[in-house]
Symmetry: D2
Subunit: 357 residues, 4 copies
């Protein structure tokens, strides 16, 4: 058991605080002989890193990842891969005034309740900066999965503005700063988020991730279910408040007839005529696209004053200065993709271990 | 790692198939010296057991739990508690005709894809019968938590019919066969479910579980988060397709100002003025009521014919005879309560282990 | 984490006390499609069971194992295999007088120190009766390993009487009640043990287990080492006080030149000219026979009076009536074989999971 | 599961190869609020580091440990502690010629058999350099245990030269380069080891570690036994071939009467009159000094030529140039102490988690 590890056969352990010298993770269980260099990881780091548009935090972090072990002459050796990312732009002074103040929606109060001590600089261990490690681990997970498994994510809702699913175009996702698959919605979000940002407020979002090409048979029937571990992985991302698979919460309103994903044989292959299941039945992949969605609450750091208390138990008002994402949901996309990749890589190995396939 | 265990310091491992001689679980890590007998567990078993109304499956199972180890002279000894529940009303013949047929929405196809073999009788290991074990383990978890922590659940939506939150009355939950906290909605659901049932169809539902009295400080900051483990636990329940904490998916539509749970001091105690967080901040309990909701898809076993394939790869039509719940969401309530209890008991011990509190 | 489980991908969890209604274990992670019935397990149970000669305890237990789950139509399904062994010959009254007395060498005092409560009947959870579960799990592990891996054990020393290694003959092991591979030593042990037994005393022993046919490459380099997990497994057996691999403690007296297992190619295959390594280098199998030895202390239950205290902190004298093994080392052989089989089966699956081989 | 982690509630994960840029470990589960700085760790690193006398390898490594996370304002925060140790004196060229040659006694052959690839420079992941991480983790474990628990180690045998137990003096251990508690033996070992070294040979050793002040009650009854986890920890140290607890292998020759650790009340406290048990009964500490011993084989890297094969399957002769310990047992002492400390710290937290004590 570790409170800072994720996965089983493919497992990573992360460490580091927002304003320490560095953060990093140790990836254990990677198969040997896989070609791997920093160049395989960096593009995913860049996709998550801050400061890329006015819609995300202006903290400047190159997020350059270094491989310290586990790779020899360009290939994984099967031993632990240690990844290090230095913190460059900490500005600890921004945070000194919140040392004894509990910011609503943040983990300040709960860390103190649990540990009696916390590294208050930039949220310390609870900072979303930790997620850079997940993205790095996810890049390795993708190498394990190979090119047949394609994992992608998108923002499908910001605040009350929802994309039109009929306009979904994966090519659009990289064409706008919101990971939005609907060109029209992306356009509307510019003004919407500018307003939110200028008013010293923030806004929630919904992120969808998909994995195509996962063969039928990965997962496990009861407590290592593919869907329960995806839920675990996505819900462990900062600010996540909900996770759903396939039709998700909508399925509560369906009848059994509506919900049934009927099957036919198409070109000799079992095929589902719909995908309410999100590609998972009884905790095991069915060969269809795996679809998961997560709800991300609005950034808790806002310039608007809200009522709170301090560590002495006095009532105070708090507004959070500093550099923050007006919508943390945007930068959650590569993180959610990474967690999905990690769950799948782990299950690929677990399935192979038990069954030999 | 185990695909059939749940939890860490407080951990249970389940076994058994729907139509084998028995099912059971081994509960490990229970503190010593706790008074425990079958009488502490049985009421929860009775609440989940089938055949209690016309709205649930008519299979007749007494679900009598036996303690085989770990309790001596009425008290837990700290050693593993083995629990056994015999299967009494299997009627295997009902299932023989689906031996080679893949029922849409069921795990038939995926079990075959994974293992190349399955116990097809009544769903085998993937049967909701497995959840009786969870309820038994949950009863022990409640003993560990003590009387200060109160865990309760309710059905808040069946199909498209949603309760009126203003009418929420916990006392109503035991007054109707739906675990419905809204007397008026419960009345409406009778006709609604009768129609669904008579038309050979089924319907989805939403279940909400709450834990009051959890002290601030349980949980862990990154991968052992209280919310991610609750998500894991609830999503591992049969037919679950979504989990949310506090405001959940609704928080995607909120601004930071709307979402902030402001704090004041009330009677000397830190108090939250709202509970969008669902009692969890940064993965750690904040002392407020823990609130989680799960979406349950409609029962996949329906009398209406749907298109499918068989294990030979031939296209067929399938209708599932036998005894089934028209709305499995109803019987999911005690199971969801149990999973919440188990996560909390585990975290109580884990927190105590690390911090001494 | 579980204090009552062993293994990772192939994992078993045991439960039960010496004088409860039954003991049992849950075997998780077994590959699907393996032919398995009680008949595959029972011979190993019979080899361990008490009452087979005058040199072991006279408790009469049929140790009939029942498979309650995980096997369907004669084959494993990949789901948990629950095994149950009923306790038939408990005679609890024999133990009532030790309820508050701490027997030297037993876990009575330490259980009370840890838990504040213990099932004192027959040693409760600390009884060697628990090892029946290991033997059952080991029988399944053997099926996973297949016929190419041959696991056998023998007693090489009882008290101060050591076998002559040059007389080692595996066929002798089943020809005497001591698992002794040296016919001459076996003859001598009859009188030796009779004397020990009649004098109300007991005696220690050394057990050796070997696994032939293990391919090179199983194990892991640092903390999942094949040898450290074998050490863990053997040392967890009741009364074990030492474990060694290959040359073991003797290697402390060797020089590097003496200890080197030189290699040559024989019939095209890498071959070791000696086996001081015991078949393991750097935690990984090298293809040679795996050899482990364990020291078993003399049975702590003796008829001779020894000084002790009771639970009130009063000084007392204790002699342990009841039925006991004069040399528990004898019945440890099938248990040690089983633990070796379980470690190897686990590592076979773990190796396959990570490397695909 | 991780092949590169050790422990459960107190857990560390190591990474790094002998000739990579650095090695390190992540220590998870440390209680919050413990004063900790590099100064608490460095003395133990210095005790293990190479180059301190002519009897150990002449590689020059400062082994300066850096804390990268988990400590804030001089105290642990309860979050993961990342420790980094840079490699300074790699000299990779020394090893180029063994790239394709399998050194007897080393893990060269088995790594290739397992992974099909290995970092051959200095043994890569299988280098004893990895043990620096264990010592660092052990220093933190000692802080968790507090001053009441005293952990110390000594070399009791080198080759065929055994110390006189009656001359045991802990103060001597730091007075000679051998960790020898017997001044006279230490004197003799100088010449003995010089001869071994000059002849291009190496020699084995026995290391003993003790923990005083461990309260009765730590450990677990069946598979998390204190002794089996100590065995696991010690056997995972490079070159370990055997582990024993208390009387260990000698107990095989004892009768029950000889082996019984009788008890009396002394100054109101339960006291054992002997310590054949090594402070552990039924897997649980009994309050007496915990005593474990390990056998360390002679260094496999020797200047004398031995027969072997290369990766092409050709027969070759190998002599290992480079800088090596003539007796690796010497530098194993602080490593063995560290592993004992880690097992105990883990069990302190696990015991507290389950029982609250």
């Amino acid at each position: 058991m570790s409170h800072n590890s994720f996965g089983h056969l493919f497992k990573f352990t992360t460490w580091g605080e927002s304003h320490g010298p560095a953060i990093g993770c140790v990836v254990d269980g990677c198969p040997p002989g896989i070609e791997l260099s920093e160049n395989d990881i960096q593009p995913f780091m860049d996709a998550r890193k801050p400061g890329t548009s006015r819609f995300v935090t202006q903290r400047k972090e190159p997020d350059q990842v270094k491989i310290l072990s586990g790779v020899f002459e360009g290939k994984t050796t099967g031993t632990p891969i240690s990844l290090l990312i230095e913190n460059k732009d900490q500005r600890s002074k921004d945070y000194s005034e919140i040392k004894n103040r509990y910011r609503p929606g943040h983990a300040d109060y709960t860390y103190d309740a649990k540990y009696g001590i916390r590294d208050y600089r930039g949220g310390g261990r609870s900072s979303a900066r930790e997620t850079a490690n997940r993205v790095a681990a996810g890049a390795i997970a993708r190498k394990i999965l190979g090119n047949d498994v394609v994992i992608r994510g998108a923002v499908t809702q910001i605040g009350t503005s929802i994309i039109d699913g009929d306009h979904w175009d994966w090519d659009q996702v990289s064409q706008n700063p919101f990971w939005c698959p609907d060109a029209k919605a992306a356009k509307a979000w510019e003004n919407y988020l500018d307003e939110v940002r200028k008013s010293g407020n923030s806004i929630g979002a919904i992120v969808e991730v998909q994995a195509e090409g996962v063969p039928a048979g990965w997962g496990a029937p009861v407590y290592g279910k593919l869907d329960s571990e995806i839920a675990n992985g996505l819900m462990s991302i900062n600010a996540a408040k909900g996770v759903e698979i396939g039709a998700g919460f909508a399925s509560a309103g369906y009848t059994g007839v509506e919900n049934a994903d009927e099957m036919r044989i198409k070109d000799g292959t079992p095929t589902f005529l719909s995908n309410n299941s999100g590609g998972i039945l009884g905790g095991i992949s069915n060969g269809d696209t795996i679809v998961a969605r997560m709800a991300i609450k609005p950034t808790s750091s806002i310039l608007t004053e809200v009522r709170s208390i301090n560590s002495k138990g006095e009532e105070i008002d708090v507004r959070t200065k500093g550099r923050h994402d007006p919508c943390v949901g945007i930068r959650a996309v590569p993180v959610a993709e990474a967690m999905l990749a990690c769950v799948l890589a782990d299950h690929k190995l677990r399935h192979r271990g038990q069954t030999g396939n």
